[in-house]
């Protein structure tokens, strides 16, 4: 029911008034327990000294990375990347190892102690509201945003909007769309008036961390095999050497022992 090829969010920290309507909307839409959330407010809040002040805060949830670290870290394939953007989590496959929690550079997946033991759904994170976007609706957090700080649509179009907004107000925005390239690109794009680190976002290389790790991981078997050969060779060498020394040393030993016995 939707013709969007790559679902994405655009968050604009300049517009965000921190009202948390998105958080409530997410909780209700996804029936989240009262002591849990899938969406957070980050950033340093009020900065500076009275009366020269600035405020920097943002809301964030799963970034729905193009190259998800959670996915590549998961040993059982509980994560999958939909071809149109959303990163999905399948609780049925999850074994609760929490590798994804360590892998995610944004600290998004979190462990659900209550559900984990009973229902096997160990991990919780933003789903991109498939029940809404697949029916042509905006995700719950976006739909309710009173200032359009959160927007939703085709990733390419949102990127275009983001760059146009920067170009229209270069005084107001940092000339960068966070998530365009970070970590290989994310589906949660961010505009800001303060350095992104002030919003609590990590500085990430364009090449996704997992791409490097995956390259390394791809080398595992050849590396292991090679290492095996080397070790075998070393072991064999050591063995031969030991044998040689053993033969040489034996007489000495015998020699040393003999006088003792002779005593």
């Amino acid at each position: 029911m939707t013709d969007i090829k790559h679902h994405a969010y655009l968050f604009d920290a300049v517009r965000c008034i921190g009202c948390r309507a998105c958080m409530v909307a997410c909780s209700v839409e996804n029936n989240i327990e009262m002591d849990k959330t899938r969406i957070w407010v980050a950033g340093r809040g009020v900065m500076g000294e009275y009366p020269i002040l600035e405020r920097a805060s943002m809301v964030y949830h799963c970034m729905h990375c193009n190259e998800p670290d959670c996915l590549s870290a998961c040993p059982v394939g509980a994560y999958s990347k939909r071809s149109d953007g959303p990163v999905e989590y399948d609780p049925k496959k999850c074994i609760g190892c929490r590798y994804c929690m360590n892998a995610c550079p944004f600290g998004v997946p979190h462990f659900d102690y209550d559900k984990g033991l009973i229902e096997g759904a160990f991990i919780d994170k933003c789903t991109f509201c498939p029940q809404r976007i697949d029916n042509g609706q905006e995700p719950a957090c976006v739909a309710t945003c009173p200032t359009d700080a959160l927007e939703y649509g085709e990733r390419d179009e949102l990127l275009k909007i983001a760059h146009e907004r920067i170009a229209a107000h270069p005084d107001r925005y940092i000339d960068h769309v966070y998530g365009e390239f970070e970590n290989g690109g994310t589906s949660y794009l961010i505009l800001s008036h303060v350095p992104f680190s002030e919003l609590g976002l990590p500085a990430l290389p364009e090449e996704p961390v997992n791409e490097i790790s995956e390259k390394v991981m791809e080398m595992t078997i050849p590396f292991a095999l090679g290492w095996g050969v080397v070790l075998t060779a070393v072991a064999a060498g050591v063995h031969l050497y030991n044998k040689k020394t053993e033969t040489k040393a034996k007489p000495t030993e015998t020699h040393e022992e003999e006088p003792e016995v002779n005593k």
Binding site: R15, I17, G18, C19, R20, A21, M23, V24, A25, S27, V28, E29, N31, M34, D35, T37, V46, G48, E49, Y50, P51, L53, E54, R55, N135, G136, Q137, E138, A140, V142, A143, T144, C145, P146, T147, D148, E151, Y152, G153, H169
Partner: protein, 726 residues
């Protein structure tokens, strides 16, 4: 960003899944049947029903997603001008008001001492009979004026007023004097309109005087302001606190509390002395153009600098920028303007600034007085005229406060008159959807006034503090469970309709007032069979069926004839910057500086102001809002806190002349060093509020009662407090 779901789409959504399954017995009968008939929900009971929010008074349109007879999600209705598809956090959490585990679901009659919280369940029959007999007893012994009626603004208020005026009491307590009396009175006197509409389409310069639109959210207006800033409109914001609105402003001016009018008068001075306004043009519409230079001569920016702490050059520059934007400049009238006894003058100055910019009488100007009469185009059930009321109003309107409009009143004065028994003693109090114990300043006095009552009945959906101290509690259906009269707005009449059946024995206000009215012998004022019949009678002149309105969420109303030219509903027909009415009542005819009191040594201004997650005193028990709002604290400037030996998170004791509370401290740079701010709405007394009880402190305990003699507004920021470690 455009909404990706239209009304048509959501109708389709409901119909698409329309498998003909038998309705389970868990689906409530009437609402589900009506919604099914309107094709809003399918045979399974799933779908979207349009209605209206009541988490504040802005009344956004909503689409309630229902599933198996339960409301599971609320979305903003793109068809409604107040939501335009969005809802604020309060609107989003609305279903937790309905499903609050602390809901009162049967009528209750007090069995313990007042305030002890001991009640027994009663039938509607018994509770209504008791309430009516007690009210009639008061009437018989002391006359109808012995009963006080009070209610906060809501869509069923028209029927509440029938109860009050039909009964024959003049004593009407509304929240208005605690809120916007200064703004409404000033704009009525200057423009002849209560609250001019703001238009943000072409606005270039916006002056907000303490109107914290980014936290005191009015969804569509907050959105419009945000988009205007996006477009490049300049926002100048006056507030002693660095609110979220301040963070979005081009310029934040942390003005000294109570001195806004000095700042504004100096702006007017700059504009008129330098002839920055097109006076020939302005003269056609404004009374006072000729004398304004003389009247404003003394209000120089240098004079204002000494009072406000804002540099004269800044005031001068802002005045010039404002004037340069001409009719695209907007000095926002504000909303809760109950700050100081001089707040009326602040509002008069704001009214004057708008007049000088010409924004009200220029096509495309960003202020409009074209406010449609409430209910025009709609009918209402027939009713006889009210009996003549001869008793004085206890709140001093108009005999003590000649210029306060009767519908606004002076609530705090009414409370004081209950205590003094002057000019006569009141004996009974009927309260609907209102929490005077927390709303009125000086809570100890309010409790004293409650103690003077022979009988108190309260209509509410939860056990709020006032219900806790009442003799009878009548459980109202929540806004998702009931009908209210239609809301006319921008050429349409919008409906609030039940999206689920009322829980327990909760009933709509329309039903409760009618039942009570009939028992009081006032049946003629309640000539409707039920809620649906009420709305059918409203719709009659439009020739539109209730079913159609239920399906669409609104009825189209015939287009109003556009007025030709600009006329104002004042004695002169013009905008009265100079007001004879004020002069004749013995008040200054021009906007005038009135020196407010200032804090003494070691005292702070005690500020109040909203957070985005709560509405007044009614939402703190909502578990979703509780989850997503910050812990209430006392804000103090971080350096001041250090100098007093406080650290962030310390428990402190806050003392005013009338009360003392404890709160956790928030040491922040975001407030003037001479001010503290206490998150409002907390400090509930009712143990029937299991989520909210025990959280935060009530500023009503601290607030001293000061009334502006012109507008009757309570001065909520005129209380000064001392703070020490608890």
């Amino acid at each position: 960003m455009t909404q990706t779901i239209s009304r048509r789409d959501f109708l389709k959504l409901g119909a698409a899944a329309g498998a003909a399954l038998a309705a389970g017995s868990f689906i409530p009968p009437q609402v589900a049947q009506a919604a099914r008939d309107a094709k809003l929900i399918n045979a399974d009971g799933d779908g979207y029903i349009p209605s209206m929010c009541e988490m504040c008074v802005w009344r956004c349109g909503l689409l309630a997603k229902v599933k198996d007879g339960r409301v599971v999600k609320l979305d903003g209705n793109p068809e409604h001008p107040h939501s335009k598809g969005n809802l604020c956090p309060r609107g989003q959490s609305g279903l937790m008001n309905t499903y609050d585990p602390d809901r009162v679901l049967t009528p209750l009659i007090r069995v313990g001492k007042r305030g002890e919280g001991k009640f027994r369940k009663a039938s509607w029959e018994e509770a209504l009979d008791l309430t009516a007999s007690k009210m009639l007893e008061v009437k018989e012994k002391y006359g109808p004026e012995g009963m006080i009626f009070s209610s906060t603004h809501n869509l069923s208020q028209v029927q509440f007023e029938n109860l009050l005026y039909g009964f024959g009491s003049p004593n009407y307590g509304t929240q208005r004097s605690l809120c916007f009396n200064a703004m409404i009175t000033a704009f009525l006197l200057t423009y002849g309109v209560e609250e001019p509409a703001r238009k943000y389409d072409d606005v270039e310069f916006i002056l907000l005087v303490g109107r914290n639109l980014m936290e005191a959210i009015s969804t569509s207006e907050t959105s419009e302001l945000s988009h205007a800033i996006d477009r490049g409109a300049k926002l100048v914001y006056l507030d002693p606190r660095y609110t979220k609105t301040a963070s979005k402003a081009a310029e934040w001016i942390p003005i000294r509390p109570g001195t806004d009018s000095a700042f504004l008068l100096a702006m007017i001075h700059v504009i008129v002395m330098n002839e920055l306004a097109d006076c020939d043009f302005v003269k056609q519409y404004v009374i006072g153009c000729d004398g304004i230079q003389d009247a404003m001569r003394r209000y120089t920016p240098e004079w204002a600098e000494a009072i406000t702490g804002v540099p004269a050059a800044t005031i001068e520059r802002i005045a010039r920028e404002y004037a340069a934007a001409k009719h695209n400049a907007l000095a926002h009238p504000g909303w809760r303007t109950s700050n100081f006894v001089n707040s009326f003058q602040t509002e008069r100055a704001i009214a004057t600034l708008n007049a000088l910019s010409g924004n009200v009488f220029t096509e495309g100007g960003c202020l409009s007085t074209d406010v449609t009469e409430e209910g025009s185009g709609l009918a209402k059930p027939p009713q006889p005229p009210y009996p003549r009321i001869s008793a004085l109003r206890l709140d001093g309107t108009p005999w003590k406060y000649p210029l306060v409009p009767l519908k606004l009143g002076v609530f705090q004065e009414l409370r004081d008159a209950i205590i003094t028994g002057q000019p006569y003693q009141a004996h009974g109090w009927f309260i609907a959807r209102q929490n005077p114990i927390l709303a009125l300043p000086d809570r100890n006095k309010t409790l004293l006034a409650f103690g003077k009552m022979d009988f108190i009945a309260t209509v509410d959906i939860i056990m709020n503090d006032t219900a806790w101290f009442s003799d009878v509690v009548l459980p109202e259906a929540s806004y998702l469970e009931r009908y209210d009269p239609l809301l006319p707005l921008d050429g349409r009449a919008y409906i609030r309709q039940p999206v689920i059946e009322p829980q327990g024995e909760a009933r709509s206000a329309l039903w409760i007032y009618k039942q009570l009215g009939e028992r009081l012998g006032l049946g003629d004022y309640f000539q409707y069979e039920d809620e649906e019949d009420y709305i059918r009678q409203q719709l009659k002149p439009l020739g539109i069926s209730l079913e159609e309105v239920k399906e669409k969420g609104y009825a189209e109303m015939p287009e109003e004839e556009k007025k030709n030219g600009f006329t104002f509903n004042t004695p002169s027909g013009k905008i009265e910057v100079y007001s004879e009415t004020l002069k004749n009542a013995g008040f200054p005819a021009w906007p005038t500086w009135e020196e407010p009191p200032i804090p003494g040594e070691n005292e702070f201004y005690l500020l109040t102001g909203k957070v985005a997650q709560h509405t007044q005193f009614g939402t703190q028990n909502n578990q979703l809002l509780h989850k997503y709002s910050d812990e209430p604290r006392l804000w103090m400037n971080a350096k001041t806190a250090v100098s007093l030996g406080f650290t962030d998170g310390d428990w402190v004791e806050i003392t005013s002349k009338v009360g003392k509370v404890h709160s956790k401290l928030l040491a922040t740079e975001a407030i003037r060093p001479d001010c503290v701010y206490l998150t409002p709405g907390f400090g509930h007394l009712s143990k029937g509020l299991t989520t909210a009880f025990g959280i935060g402190a009530s500023d009503s305990v601290l607030h001293e009662t000061y009334t502006d003699p012109i507008s009757g507004g309570q001065a909520l920021s005129q209380t000064f407090v001392k703070v020490k470690k608890a």
